[in-house]
Symmetry: C2
């Protein structure tokens, strides 16, 4: 259940209540692709770094270890040890980006697993069944994510099929939630807006899916090749057609600047692999911009990644030590940096919420949007 | 300062006091080669897993990031964040096992770095200078570690040179400890017994080095190719010649069974990469023997690695989850398994100390020596 607490322009301060706990929004979801945050973080570290929602990938967990096994073991919460809300994506994005030799038809998609090459078929029903087996808090609708730029005619055809698929998802999740041995009988379903970068397709699609009375609405298919201005334009174009009483999620986005722009355009939820991926290369977020810890100038720098940062890494270790760990190829380098970057993202969201509470979000956004994305 | 608390046969229960804290012996030192335990463990995790002493490698830290840098940054304790005792090896073992194109002469060893191939010279004085820069609690003497089996004549020549080197180490560390800008003015020096598998050489060497009144004595050059019975025989042969009022360290040893046998032969300190290396391959120690977490039978096993184990991993995660993390090549697998194995080793030492306190160590040893080393 989404409760809108306050607006500042189009930006929203809200609260999203689930059976696995309440999420203060705007929020960033921390990505644990295969049921673990890359960089050796455990579910038990997530509370320490301010994480509210863990995001797991349906496709990855379906191919390994298998959603049937996870169901047998009591669902993702028991399996990973994270007791807060979990969102699972639909598998669609990975099917279209990772899998080999895919073939799309009305029923769904045939493809070969990127792990062992075996043939897999996934359609709306299969995606819902897998996510039901995983027992996540929130299931995402199965959609086609079209790469930008896309042909108008193909984008239209695809976004219309995605609406038909969404209806099948809704029917299927209702059936699954009512089964006696379902892991999470209260599993929620979010629909996904598609239509590439075509305003009319996006709006038409949004109108149609908003009628389906889903638990939340996502904007998908952005940050997949188009300039960021185009992404912002599309969000602003569809926003008036998104239900105000439902939570809104911008999928796979993005940099701190992207998130600030997204919040200002009425988005409540975000996810991205960027903070953990950047961390694994030593690119670290600070309130002064992005630093590269591999830089020679940090060789003898005994100060933390950022002075005043309260993350477990900055409380304990110096830039000189972390740089050494990277050079020596020690795994600890990854863990310390992923910890810092995710903490930074979660704290950014906290600061955004505080700014919304205090009515000075726009001021905050104007100060930080460009600054945080700058490499220094 | 070593205090012998109690004997059971040749086995010793003791206490070793240093400027960085007191070590209850027998103890196992946890190996942090390049200043970090492999498997993404931080110095701040070590107390949670019962670690008393961290061991760092002089050779590795000399080539990267450089001992001069570590001195400039305040020494290894400040650099790694571990405030307990640190032992540094002399670099000798790595020079003889890792480095390329080495040439030994009376002054020391010429070799090329395994990282960038650059020429390095290391002799007793250089090893002491590096260890002094690192500021460890305990410095090890620079020795030649001969591979077994060795020619008698070479072993004799090498062990005699090692005694001459030891005297130079003693002179040099005394000089370094007195310098005004030394990191740790109380740095201790342990001598190393060598002589390959020749009883007479070992005893002769031990008699000579015991006269030097060092802070501790190590048995080196074992577990380098010889059968374990030969190792045990040599330890028993030199033990009567080791000073009773000094701490004794068996270098690079070993399995739980090796440690139990070592303690029963009068050894107080151990170190080995085995628990962390095995962990990184999913080979996990339990009180029933060694399990391989990759085994198919753990696929749906929601029990911890060992029932009743109080390590952070067993308190939180199941065999099924850890097995999945290995299959999915998630770094977290390493961290969870290294945590368990090091905890197991540290707890084994605690149980050994308790058995010695209670006077039932031999009973404990007879029960566990073979059991713990068995793959089940």
């Amino acid at each position: 259940m989404f409760k809108l607490i306050k607006n500042e322009g189009t930006a929203r301060r809200g609260e999203f209540t689930t059976v696995h706990g309440t999420v203060q929004t705007p929020a960033f979801m921390n990505v644990a692709t295969a049921g673990a945050i890359k960089g050796a973080l455990s579910s038990y570290d997530l509370k320490e770094i301010g994480c509210q929602v863990q995001l797991c990938n349906t496709y990855h967990l379906h191919v390994r270890p298998g959603d049937d096994l996870i169901k047998q073991l009591g669902g993702l919460h028991k399996f990973t040890g994270w007791d807060g809300p979990i969102l699972t994506d639909s598998g669609g994005f990975q099917v279209f980006s990772l899998a080999k030799l895919r073939k799309i038809r009305e029923e769904g998609v045939d493809f070969n697993s990127h792990v062992d090459g075996r043939h897999i078929f996934m359609g709306p029903e299969e995606s819902m069944q897998i996510q039901s087996n995983l027992g996540s808090t929130i299931a995402m609708a199965f959609d086609e994510c079209v790469e930008n730029p896309a042909e108008y005619s193909y984008a239209k055809q695809s976004s219309e099929r995605t609406v038909r698929w969404l209806k099948r998802c809704k029917t299927e999740i209702k059936r699954l939630n009512a089964l006696p041995d379902t892991v999470n009988k209260n599993q929620l379903l979010f629909g996904i807006n598609q239509g590439a970068t075509y305003e009319d397709l996006r709006i038409d699609n949004m109108k149609r899916i908003s009628e389906l009375e889903l638990d939340g609405y996502a904007v998908g298919g952005l940050a997949v090749g188009e300039p960021k201005e185009e992404m912002y334009y599309i969000i602003s174009a569809v926003e008036p057609y998104m239900p105000k009483d439902k939570i809104r999620y911008l999928m796979g986005v993005g940099t701190p600047g992207n998130i600030l722009e997204g919040v200002s355009r009425g988005i409540d939820l975000f996810d991205c692999v960027m903070p953990s991926r950047n961390a694994r290369h030593g690119h670290l977020f600070t309130n002064m911009g992005i630093i590269n810890i591999n830089n020679e100038k940090y060789r003898n720098d005994m100060s933390p990644i950022e002075e005043g940062c309260l993350c477990p890494t900055c409380q304990r270790h110096s830039k000189a030590y972390i740089r050494h760990l990277f050079k020596a190829k020690e795994m600890l380098a990854m863990r310390l940096c992923v910890t810092h970057n995710l903490y930074f993202y979660n704290m950014l969201m906290l600061k955004i919420r505080e700014a919304l509470d205090n009515g000075n979000f726009i001021e905050f956004k104007n100060k930080y949007t460009d600054l945080l994305d700058t490499r220094i």
